[in-house]
């Protein structure tokens, strides 16, 4: 099999080249010092994919010049694959299949099962330890086995992207992970958080000594999830970044590997979580923000006691997540006109907050837009052309190699950048609205006579149930509730701030 005259000749020539190290020496500086292929902003003349070469062996140069005239010729022609005479057979390139093949169906079934069971346990069985076991299962399955993906929290981004970008598609499994917990929450409260979410399960596990967060700090920090949610939707919908995944605290732990920053972030949350109940859920989780809103109107939410509250104050401090509303003191309270005037002022302040937020958001849209890869690239190419950035910058170099005129890139990026101003307005207005509504909510005094769950923040963990004496009657631990003794003891207790 020696009948390939032309290519064989060529190969002999190049083979000679390969044999002589002295020859090779001339070509030694082939590596990084290649200057930029195109110095000015003029578009490249050809569309060859051949990388630039400065000093090369004549045969290579000859070949390259030949390639320039055949723009679509493949680089493979430099050294044609040899005809082996020794019966050597080419090894195959291995292609291991994806590690986790289509698990979406299993995941959704497991999610449905956990959600259903969690709701049953929280509302009917009312046992903390059973919910704890179920949450451990979720931690093992969704956390360590499925390594934190797919997750309902991150699905917000896929949904946002699919809603606003016509080209994006969303896997059905991810859509189910977004919708199912929300639908369950509309009926049963945040039972997803109680036992189906691995993040919540992990934080529940490390909580050893809950301390009370001061009320002003608690209320302030509770705004953060909404800001995070708004930012995540903005960045996902515009195709800029998936920040929820990027700043997921526990995914590194689930995978047992990760970058240092990820592990530090996750470790920080775990250490904080030993003393502050579920810090991620309360002060960051964007999905929790949506769940909280829906939970407010849930049909059958857990109650501390399904029976009559006798105000024994035993459950008063049982919630590590500050999700129990205390009865409003009967004697205190301001005059009605004072409260009404304040509410009026706050209602007037609301549009101011919205407009101010929107304006600030629009201001911020410039830097935010740089998170979009295309806009960032356009920015870098522009900087390179105005001499503020070296042409050897990786992104600029890569762009030059594509042979696209930079004006085309700019024309593409500019309208995108302008869209960010609109998004900035929306995002800022949303944050302003949330802040304004929070102020209004704080100023409204709702009269409560009993200890009630704070529906928005209660994660249905079932801790408080065990503190209620009626719960123990229901379980058959005791025969009756000594109401008088308990209320007497309660009235002698120091009031809680």
């Amino acid at each position: 099999m020696k009948g390939r005259p032309q290519t064989t000749d060529f190969r002999l020539q190049t083979t000679d080249h390969r044999l002589q190290t002295s020859d090779f020496r001339q070509t030694r500086d082939y590596r990084p010092q290649t200057p930029a292929l195109h110095h000015s902003s003029t578009p490249p003349l050809h569309h060859s994919t051949t990388p630039p070469i400065r000093t090369a062996h004549p045969s290579v140069l000859l070949l390259l010049s030949a390639l320039l005239f055949a723009p679509y010729a493949h680089a493979a022609e430099r050294f044609p694959p040899p005809d082996f005479e020794s019966g050597y057979s080419l090894p195959e390139t291995t292609t291991p299949p994806p590690r986790i093949a289509n698990m979406a169906v299993v995941d959704v079934v497991v999610l449905l099962f956990t959600l259903g069971l969690a709701s049953y346990l929280a509302l009917k069985r009312r046992r903390r330890n059973e919910i704890l076991y179920l949450s451990m299962f979720s931690l093992v399955y969704f956390g360590f086995y499925r390594e934190g993906c797919v997750c309902a929290i991150g699905s917000i981004q896929n949904v946002s992207l699919a809603m606003f970008d016509g080209r994006a598609v969303i896997p059905l499994g991810v859509l189910a992970f977004f919708i199912l917990p929300l639908a369950f929450t509309l009926f049963f409260g945040r039972t997803f958080c109680a036992a189906a979410c691995p993040h919540g399960a992990l934080q529940d596990l490390v909580l050893v000594k809950p301390v009370k967060v001061p009320a002003w700090l608690e209320q302030g920090l509770r705004l953060v999830p909404y800001v995070y949610l708004g930012g995540a939707v903005l960045l996902a919908a515009t195709g800029s970044a998936f920040i929820i995944c990027q700043f997921d605290p526990f995914i590194g732990l689930f995978r047992m590997t990760g970058t240092r920053n990820m592990l530090l972030f996750g470790g920080g949350f775990l250490i904080a979580g030993m003393f502050i109940g579920r810090p991620y859920c309360r002060y960051l989780c964007p999905y929790g923000a949506i769940l909280g809103l829906l939970s407010k109107v849930s049909k059958w939410h857990v109650a501390i006691t399904p029976d009559e509250c006798i105000q024994c104050r035993l459950c008063e401090e049982s919630c590590p997540f500050a999700a129990i509303h205390h009865p409003t003191p009967s004697e205190s309270g301001e005059a009605r006109p004072v409260g009404r005037a304040r509410l009026g002022r706050l209602l007037l302040l609301l549009p101011v907050c919205v407009i101010l937020g929107g304006w600030l958001g629009a201001r911020l849209s410039g830097p935010i837009s740089l998170l979009h890869p295309q806009i960032d690239l356009a920015e870098q190419v522009f900087l390179a052309e105005t001499g503020q950035l070296k042409e050897t910058d990786d992104a600029v170099k890569a762009f030059r190699q594509t042979g696209r005129p930079s004006q085309e890139l700019f024309d593409e990026a500019l309208p995108m950048k302008e869209r960010y101003v609109t998004w900035g307005w929306f995002f800022g207005a949303f944050v302003g609205l949330v802040a304004g509504l929070k102020l209004i909510q704080l100023s409204l005094k709702r009269t409560r006579t009993d200890y009630e769950t704070d529906r928005a923040n209660c994660v249905a963990c079932a801790r408080c149930f065990e503190y209620c004496p009626y719960e123990h009657v229901r379980r058959g631990d005791i025969d009756f509730v000594p109401v008088e003794a308990l209320t007497k003891a309660a009235s002698e207790k120091e009031p809680v701030a």
């Binding site: 190290t21 493979a76 430099r78 044609p80 050597y88 993906c149 995944c245 590997t257």
Partner: protein
């Protein structure tokens, strides 16, 4: 103001159930709209070798400690050169497997004599870190038979690939899970 005096459970319940209905309606329509545009088929990340500029970020940006991106070799395209510019340092002392002659920082390329003057180069994947040093040499002077690929026995298929996020040439994209590789030279045209 008789209405405000007493707590009005029916009004609260009415508002609440109205909001609940609205929520369900929103969820339903969102689900309906999106499921029409969704796909049951999963996708995975892969590198388009034609776009790759061998910057070396694949070795450092992956969320895994040992990157899921590795060098693969398409033997069909390889010239089996004795002096492989993907294997040897620019000025090797000798054309042998001495560590000082090798371009690969981890010695992950195995060089084996086939027949005069051809040598086979294969990747020891457990050693490869995906730094693309060999690929630069091979693409620049050789046939470009070495290239980077996301290895799916390692990739955890993040929602947002952190290498893709920092890739200067935007060479990483989602591909259907049943065709998870973009092998150079194969399946083109």
């Amino acid at each position: 103001m008789p209405n405000e005096k007493k707590p009005d459970p029916t009004r609260r319940e009415f508002v609440s159930s109205g909001a609940r209905g609205l929520g369900l309606l929103t969820l339903g329509s969102m689900g309906g709209y999106l499921s029409g545009r969704s796909q049951a088929e999963e996708t995975v990340w892969q590198i388009d070798a034609e776009k790759c500029i061998r910057c070396g970020k694949c070795a450092t940006e992956c969320v895994l400690e040992e990157s899921a991106v590795k060098c693969v070799h398409n033997f069909d395209m390889c010239g089996y050169c004795k002096l492989c510019t993907g294997y040897f340092e620019p000025e090797p002392n000798a054309l042998n497997t001495g560590a000082e002659n090798q371009l690969c920082p981890t010695g992950a390329i195995k060089r084996k004599f086939v027949e005069d003057p051809y040598f086979q180069y294969s990747i020891e994947e457990s050693l490869c870190v995906g730094c693309a040093k060999c690929i630069e040499g091979c693409t620049r002077f050789g046939n470009g038979s070495l290239f980077l690929q996301v290895r799916h026995d390692r990739c955890v298929n993040c929602n947002d690939c952190s290498i893709a996020r920092s890739c200067p040439s935007q060479a990483i994209e989602r591909v259907p899970a049943d065709q998870p590789y973009k092998l150079k030279g194969k399946g083109e045209g």
